[in-house]
Point group: C3
Chain length 306, copies 3
């Protein structure tokens, strides 16, 4: 069903499609564990265009493509590319569609992936567009919750940190409203979820805004921590005032429910203390590891190898 | 016949070899369209050394190698390479020949590829050397004319823009003199074809120098537009004075012959208005797309996989 | 025996393992010469993380992986990676182990590879850690001596140039003490082997420190020349005073024994004059070429494909 489709926003994924993606991800995950050599996309080429720093997302897409038997061509710096000669994104995309079967793009400008998809006859995957969306991160977040807790429905999910600039949070929020969950939003005043995201959420959802993490910690099933991104602040004194305000240490973790988990899209800086890593609740490295099988599932479904 | 040979200049390609390359390109193009998985260069490695910004050329070479079943190792920035430690190009090449079966090089210095080929036991492909040559671009330009118009002989070809610094133009001019064509050169005074190129053209060719695009537009079969390259100007006021002097818009296009085409080596900036893109005359994206099958043909002929 | 093991230091390689590596390298070298397509690591992925400039080491690892049928994902600049967002090396490694089967790391900080190996469930190969070690370079150095001269035991080896900051020298010295060799150390006073390396060498070894190259040239079997690395000096006048003090030209080479060889880890700057390249004694390009089969042997032994 995803065949030949672009994934620009989490809205591009239908509710019933998510289950198929999860099933395909389970299969990919098993194949990886068994060391199976897959040749589903033999002879196919992925182009990764990363106009913003990224390691995790780019490498997991590239690893996914290689694990499927395909190849990768890559631009990871705007200044060594033809963008530095003044080329428009539309022209870059029309070039890339001649070279690759699928195009993965990260761009500092919100809406860049949508624009790219309008000009491309090949499928585009949005790997992050400024403060916009990052839909494959959201899919792997949802997959991680389901895999760790068995279910997404019925869970209480607390999202903490930078809810204003964090595009992962925006995509995740929109996606969670399709499930029967309770959401707690915990952030400093200046880093609240922006109105243009709030206005897109359905009326009936169970959502609570709090300044205080302690009040929700005890009944939280999923604590989703985000990095307060230095590079999003124009005023660095503002940054200093909020950094560390919601740091998670073992004392905080000890208040959490038995089967609860801690997630983080990574990279982290000081939001989670290193000694939390050894807690079974720390799901963030498992979450990162899910990036490869999720992207294998998506890419193989889009390119019709599977 | 190209087996194990370097391609440093368009002169390295014999007149009768061009036909073989075009035939091989047609085959590669068909294989791509049919989604055939080629394994002609399975186990072989291409090294791409790009000491100047490039997306199009590098990615199309890398895509070509992957489509043939081969692998790629790449250096796309001088400063993260051993060149930053003071290594000579000769030493870099003698290293690379131990790592790869074919070496593609772009370098800011004219003559760099020729120098590299003198020190390498493995074939070198010149992917642009300063204001020198860019022979694979020329081959794909000739292939595009032939594919679009059926013939190169008998056509009137107008080359417009930066004829002084544009290495694509120099390679193309030299190559066109082997055909029975009429050539119009249209450029501002300060961007005329340099004497050292003019002196290499045979006496008898039909060539006209003009400052005025209008006078030749009506009988032109191929309008070859080039970017006026900002980075080639040391004086930026000089740049400002010429930029845009030969911009192509729909009004200009409406004066062109029925079966004529517009080409551009890309990236473009303001030379061609975006609304021209939808005209069937706009061949530049098809031209860019030809980059992969042309380079597949060349690389497979050189490495003897075909 | 190397299966699933990290190579952080040359000490990680047992004395009897070296012979197995050399045998495997001979096999790889022959396979390359015969143009055999190996599929030993089909479906496997290598991650190369190079946080310091490198061409030779990175490309030879990547070429080795491709020649074995595997794929590569790569970060070759710290500033376009998540390190620029403040991520720790430990977190980067725990990410990478989800994406790759083996991780090759070069880092400006001594001890970085050791740290990485503590956090990784996947094997780590140290490709240079600051002024620390570079064990795969040492293995290829030893392999080159053996291949060129038939034996390592019984040889007189003169190491000249920067013995203080050159990590290749430190790894090589430690490794040579396991053989019955005579070692001459020739360097300017300020670039002597540091005490922390000297203290790790066994008491009984035949080692001589000299300021004068002439006195040892005649009976040297292996002249190992190193680059005096500009980037290791904080004081550039100090650099100027030592550069060129031990440059090797044909006059110097003419004093060498019949079957002696000159080695250099490359890149070189002025340490060896270009006309020496044509001497049969000049083994440094052959040495560089050994980088690929040595790394093919190591990687295939670690990943158990062979």
């Amino acid at each position: 069903m995803l065949k030949n489709r672009s994934i620009v926003s989490i809205d591009d994924i239908g509710d019933n499609e998510l289950d198929d993606i999860f099933k395909a991800t389970d299969e990919m995950s098993n194949a990886l564990k068994q060391g199976k050599v897959l040749k589903l996309l033999d002879g196919m080429v992925m182009a990764t265009f990363f106009y913003e720093p990224s390691t995790r997302t780019r490498l997991s897409f590239e690893s996914a493509m290689h694990r499927l038997g395909g190849s990768v061509i890559s631009v990871s710096e705007a200044k060594s590319s033809s963008v530095s000669k003044g080329e428009t994104l539309a022209d870059t995309v029309r070039m890339a569609e001649g070279y690759a079967d699928i195009i993965v793009i990260r761009h500092p400008m919100e809406g860049a992936a949508k624009l790219a998809s309008r000009f491309s006859s090949k499928p585009i995957i949005n790997a992050g567009d400024g403060s916009g969306q990052h839909p494959t991160q959201t899919i792997l977040d949802l997959y991680t919750i389901k895999r760790e807790l068995g279910e997404i429905n019925g869970k209480e999910i607390t999202i903490v940190g930078d809810l204003r600039y964090g595009r992962t949070v925006h995509s995740l929020l929109l996606a969670l409203t399709k499930f029967d969950v309770s959401i707690n939003l915990v952030s400093p005043e200046i880093l609240k979820v922006p109105d243009h995201i709030l206005s897109r959420l359905p009326k009936g959802i169970k959502m609570k805004v709090a300044n205080d993490l302690d009040s929700v910690m005890e009944h939280t099933d999923v604590l989703y921590v985000t990095r307060i991104q230095k590079e999003r602040f124009s005023d660095q004194t503002e940054y200093q005032s909020v950094i560390g305000s919601y740091s998670i240490d073992m004392e905080a973790v000890s208040k959490m429910k038995e089967d609860s988990i801690i997630m983080h899209p990574l990279p982290r800086v000081d939001e989670i203390a290193p000694d939390v890593d050894s807690s079974p609740k720390a799901a963030y490295f498992r979450q990162a590891g899910n990036g490869v099988p999720v992207r294998m599932a998506l890419v193989s479904m889009i390119l019709g190898g599977k």
